[in-house]
Symmetry: C2
Subunit: 208 residues, 2 copies
């Protein structure tokens, strides 16, 4: 069911991918060197090239694997049916935890950085993250509309979901992308999630 690349089988093959993951996510495509990847993986130069024909192919494999892991993380955020405010809040908190994780920030950095050179990877990131999250939110909002908890006649379900996700991610994502040493506290995440949910429900909720 993998979209393209096959998962490595042997121990050395896994070591190559793991080393490449570490180096590429830390340094980006151009700054990373195959020498360092090779050393990090504890293998020789030709072992790297035995599994991946070029540095580009190795980078593509790494980013694709990370996008799939990222997508799985977003997909596995539970949506517990219940009162809408609590459900949205929990959703927002979990999404922020994923999106602000060091791995997700690094993936975003290196993928967006080389988007002009690897446009398909940038698109894969978009589909794996914001798109999947927005679709899931839209689905749940549809249920809330049915239940009469919310009124989305005007902007539409999809636009409302997209806006909600933008509100949740917007400011903290920007902040931690531009402050690479800093880490968000749980309190900040909760606070921002509450702010976004409250605003969203003030705008569209029925029993505000």
């Amino acid at each position: 069911m993998k979209s393209s690349a096959s998962a490595p089988t042997t121990a050395k093959a896994r070591a190559v991918l793991a080393g490449a993951r570490k180096v590429f996510l830390a340094q980006g495509y151009s700054a990373a060197s195959t020498d360092v990847i090779q050393r990090e993986a504890g293998v020789s130069k030709s072992t790297v090239y035995a599994h991946y024909p070029t540095k580009e192919a190795l980078f593509v494999a790494v980013v694709q694997a990370e996008c799939e892991a990222f997508m799985d993380a977003v997909r596995s955020i539970p949506i517990r049916p219940g009162a809408l405010p609590e459900t949205l809040k929990a959703l927002a908190v979990r999404y922020l935890e994923v999106v602000l994780s060091p791995a997700a920030l690094a993936l975003f950095r290196v993928t967006v950085a080389d988007a002009p050179r690897f446009p398909q990877l940038a698109r894969a990131l978009y589909l794996a993250g914001p798109r999947v999250m927005t679709l899931r939110v839209a689905e749940h909002l549809a249920q809330a509309v049915e239940a009469g908890e919310i009124d989305l006649a005007e902007p539409g379900r999809d636009a409302a979901a997209s806006l909600f996700v933008s509100m949740v991610r917007g400011e903290p994502h920007m902040e931690y992308l531009t402050h690479p040493e800093a880490r968000p506290t749980q309190a900040q995440i909760e606070q921002w999630a509450s702010l976004a949910v409250n605003t969203f429900l003030r705008a569209y909720g029925r029993a505000g």
Copy 2:
């Protein structure tokens, strides 16, 4: 009044900076080579090094200059006093035009990409863009509160401004960062701005 680097005076010096700007914004720090910059500028290698001691210094000069230009662009967005919906809409449209411009997207890409290596540049970008915009919005929202057009008692003026900017920028910024060949249409910008403004005013406006 410049914060750090001095503006180039001679024609060659300007050519070096212009060439570096073009190449760095297109390729990022690591992928860019001083050879290409030198050729782009129409000067020799040592002319580059006569003005900037290292590639790093040249990159810093380019990004700082771009951040200042970006800040000026955000600062020069007019806030015409008038009815709040129209004022916010115009503000949102102009902000999106700036933030989604090819130069701003490229600046974001290369700066965020190398944020771990050049953290002060990433912070400069944050201050030049989101921070300046949010402060301006907060200022205007304070006036709207005074005029009784809006009620921001609960989240507070600064949080509301930050949320508004997140709503405006969120989805389209993400979309065009991850689809480098595509360009937004004016209609899309207007539509997204309207959506953000309407939602914000539904949540906090008094005469919704």
